[in-house]
Symmetry: D2
Amino acid sequence: MVIVMSPGATPSDVEAIVEIIGTTGGEAFVSRGVNRTIIGLVGDVARFEALDLRAMPGVADVMRVSTPYKLVSRENHPERSTVRVGGVPIGPGTVTLIAGPCAVETPEQTLQAAEMAKAAGATLLRGGAYKPRTSPYAFQGLGEAGLRILADVREETGLPVVTEVVDAHDVELVASYADMLQVGTRNAQNFALLQAVGGSGRPVMLKRGMNATIEEWLMAAEYIAQRGNLDVVLCERGIRTFETATRNTLDVSAVPVAQRLSHLPVIVDPSHSGGRHDLVLPLTRAAVAVGADGVIVDVHPHPEQALCDGPQALVDGDLAELADVMRRFPALLGKTAAGELLTPA
Amino acid sequence: MVIVMSPGATPSDVEAIVEIIGTTGGEAFVSRGVNRTIIGLVGDVARFEALDLRAMPGVADVMRVSTPYKLVSRENHPERSTVRVGGVPIGPGTVTLIAGPCAVETPEQTLQAAEMAKAAGATLLRGGAYKPRTSPYAFQGLGEAGLRILADVREETGLPVVTEVVDAHDVELVASYADMLQVGTRNAQNFALLQAVGGSGRPVMLKRGMNATIEEWLMAAEYIAQRGNLDVVLCERGIRTFETATRNTLDVSAVPVAQRLSHLPVIVDPSHSGGRHDLVLPLTRAAVAVGADGVIVDVHPHPEQALCDGPQALVDGDLAELADVMRRFPALLGKTAAGELLTPA
Amino acid sequence: MVIVMSPGATPSDVEAIVEIIGTTGGEAFVSRGVNRTIIGLVGDVARFEALDLRAMPGVADVMRVSTPYKLVSRENHPERSTVRVGGVPIGPGTVTLIAGPCAVETPEQTLQAAEMAKAAGATLLRGGAYKPRTSPYAFQGLGEAGLRILADVREETGLPVVTEVVDAHDVELVASYADMLQVGTRNAQNFALLQAVGGSGRPVMLKRGMNATIEEWLMAAEYIAQRGNLDVVLCERGIRTFETATRNTLDVSAVPVAQRLSHLPVIVDPSHSGGRHDLVLPLTRAAVAVGADGVIVDVHPHPEQALCDGPQALVDGDLAELADVMRRFPALLGKTAAGELLTPA
Amino acid sequence: MVIVMSPGATPSDVEAIVEIIGTTGGEAFVSRGVNRTIIGLVGDVARFEALDLRAMPGVADVMRVSTPYKLVSRENHPERSTVRVGGVPIGPGTVTLIAGPCAVETPEQTLQAAEMAKAAGATLLRGGAYKPRTSPYAFQGLGEAGLRILADVREETGLPVVTEVVDAHDVELVASYADMLQVGTRNAQNFALLQAVGGSGRPVMLKRGMNATIEEWLMAAEYIAQRGNLDVVLCERGIRTFETATRNTLDVSAVPVAQRLSHLPVIVDPSHSGGRHDLVLPLTRAAVAVGADGVIVDVHPHPEQALCDGPQALVDGDLAELADVMRRFPALLGKTAAGELLTPA
């Protein structure tokens, strides 16, 4: 931390700060300029924050200078990581396509969606059995029955399964069926859940909170990492802004920024950010082009009957175009579509 | 719902809509203007939303027209409600002061803070035993030991206790000590937790999510109400905006807006919204003046040693001024400070 | 400015910075901690900003530490200022009510609105002759004919006139009629206009840009002050956020924050922030209670016929209540309603 | 417009609305559902808006249903437009690169930057002679001397010139030198300026206001179009959000959304949105991939000496990569880099 003293601060104001920092076991380095004195602090930031330094006489400003996340930071882990989900890599050098229905509804719908996904080049299947919904009157998911459907479809298609968990106490159950656990945007600061998936032994896809700064997103990942789980994939899914033409505003800049700050892979959800079917393909292209390590999209055999987020699902006619994007764009960035690593050409 | 057709929509486009609405059991009312046709829908909105109406030929826009919350709505419950916490009313006609330490740290600190609170006119004690913190390295609260301290201080001061619960599976435990359960801003869409407090038998204070629209806030309350618990107090605590001079932007307009839409009481947290000690009193005055049914503030005997949010806590010197605000402002609005109902003059 | 070096920065990285700062005529103060070195810069910030310091080897972060506004800052002018408009004070110790129609439409409507305003305790008349409208098809104001109406109504009522100017080249004309010039939220960074009103010889009311930070708002005031005009009144009128229940989100915290940073008076516009008639009185109470030096409200004799912003105008029935707020609330803060200074009891 | 009546509205409430609409010359179409009555309005929206419909008895909500922009709308002009600037096309089928220094400083710097731009595939030169700056103490541009430098560099390089105008009364002068006029983000609702460039006879690049919705952006374009100038290019340059890791949040979704609503070309500014040198290339790739009709980037021969926005300028080493993006990405979308149309292979 750095303390900036106001122009009128007295030497005894400065001394009082040096002293109070000393009581925390930290050290204060004083640097006197012509108009201003600046004090650099070294030690336990949490203890500094507990002092009301801003309220001390002569203090003009207090600023934090080192990143508050450690395990997920790239500072001490310069190489970018690859997370493997049932053998499928997500990380630098590849672009992984995850696709499937927003919600698991029936075995048929899930299987059909999985086959659509596979045809488009997906190597992982998404599908929700537990759905966090703004309204208590909306469809909340099939629960364990949905998980069983996902496991059956994995059996049939060979696609490992990514599925959301919404309650810390369901983690064990969901982990017994899934290859990767998803934490949704509304749970991005549900710390009990973050800690539980941190102890689950499964890779985790962590969606950015729709109101989370990039730093808070990385802090949420740190909660998972701190429980011994570094297999975390960050997923940008749009942030809340004043614009209402799209459900959320996809923050593509967050991809290179997060990749620079953290060694974790970063993927993009173009379906939920826009909330509009007609934006999914353009945003998928943008995501791959900006350098995302993968994308996760909704597909549905009959979106007009979908019980959740139908309007944003890709349908059969779009899949050829999606497959085409996944085939041609990664190469432009010197990457491989993850599908090509697994399928014989 | 209302569907607005584009100028070029054909009669068969309109017919297709009438038909598909019919398949859901709903009815479509067509209204033809000179340039535009508008179709009003009556029936099950969830089923309408599952259709991708926006994608149908000739559709220009689709709009929802009725409120999605029912039990907390004022439409069917015109009189504003009063929630009682250990005998203390929160509702129209009174202004209730809730005060105490952000986090329970020691029995002494909690007792001292409670006495400060009481002296300022508080009739309810706040204090956190479970703290949701952005960093996994920050103080997370004392847990059950903290709850026991709160119960002891209640014994000594007579102040009923409001305390936060952060995990659905702690609800029973926390409810066994507390008079009112608090759901924090980061859990405003933790639906498992909302349902759990809905079944707890205790009144609930529901903080607005820092990124929640007023409608989403009321939907969160609806989750609690739907489990049979209508003793919900809404708490405005600031929303996230681009402004960085304050931690969040206190949305005072939300108080009259929410009071008009819902029969539930609405209070304000001036401590966490600003995040700055010097703003607590001005924002308390604004909250009472705008018509809030109460305020909840942090007090701490020694904020410079606080383990959580010290910089925003009121200290002894401020309390006379707070007491003065609580004594003089409610009368201006024809209200009583809740404290006066309980204490002999 | 302060430069924070990354943990791996070398001594020669630090030296390179010291050197490049020297070339600008500034000085660099190096402070070495255990993990980090911090360099404080003293000199011409604009020249520092022109260097790409962030791109230099070893640099982790660069932070600005002193306020970029000077003339409007309270740092060098600790006493809060009072601005006088045709003899009416706006500043500490008083609460000034400015009221009138959003747009001047006819002599009758303007006179009636002015009389309503006066009856409610207003001492200044607002009214727009030039209206910035989002749509080119909306009513744009009467122009000079409107200014003449305002001057006539001033004659009849004795109320000095506040009116908006939207183009630098109209400033002289508008200033020849008006007692105070208003710069609107859409022109908050129209620097040509800010400089023109800075040279106008008239007091200026500067609305906050709906997307402006408090710092940017003060920088806009600095543009005016730099042309020799320190008679600037800041007006908080709501910022743009994700919430759609209100037109904008009134940021009441901005009042005490701006009053602490700047010596200029700060008033509030409760009509345009909410955009809703039913919020004007609650927000007026909140504004006075938070410590605003005045409020500016829309009144209209027949809002249903208003050519601009009718839905938010107060009508006759509300005025008694407004008058009551203006009479009773200022005293609670030890202030006088400005009207009382001028009118015999 | 559509009026939604509340459940308790009476037949006479409905009648009152039909009547008042009749007084404006409009028509009201009543549609009765089981719980709700909906009234569709046909006629002059501005007159409807002037009525305080929301305040009428029985009214629950009032919604606007047709786009308020006409000339720039794609509704009546389904084919997307191409704007030509000194012979260079901006529109569907091509991707145009505009590059140059943020500010014109010296003839040498401008010429060098133009040559860098050309080498990277740019066919238009950008450069500011008038700079809107947040601080009155920052470099404000060379004015007419800067325009002369731009004209000289055009002579030498053959690149047509795009330059900003910040005051309505400079439009004629700037138009006498420039091939395209730029309206900046801070002037996005400076209606006097929009009307002036509308009458200038030059193509206009209209940056999105950093707080403008897509609809407001199109309304600003409508102001220009209404003065007879349909040669308008929309430029997305980032919006203001809560995220502070980037200067603004580039809203890539706005590109396809605006292209669907309007026939005007849409380009992207990846330099000013991120405000960071390291984001320019990733965001350029994203912009081309999402379907932008062009990009505009800052280049500078010596960014560390730049008087404005140095930190975000591309330097020599980046240009090969930029040229590579401009060569390879447009083809993926079936487009041509505009440069290839002009240069012999």
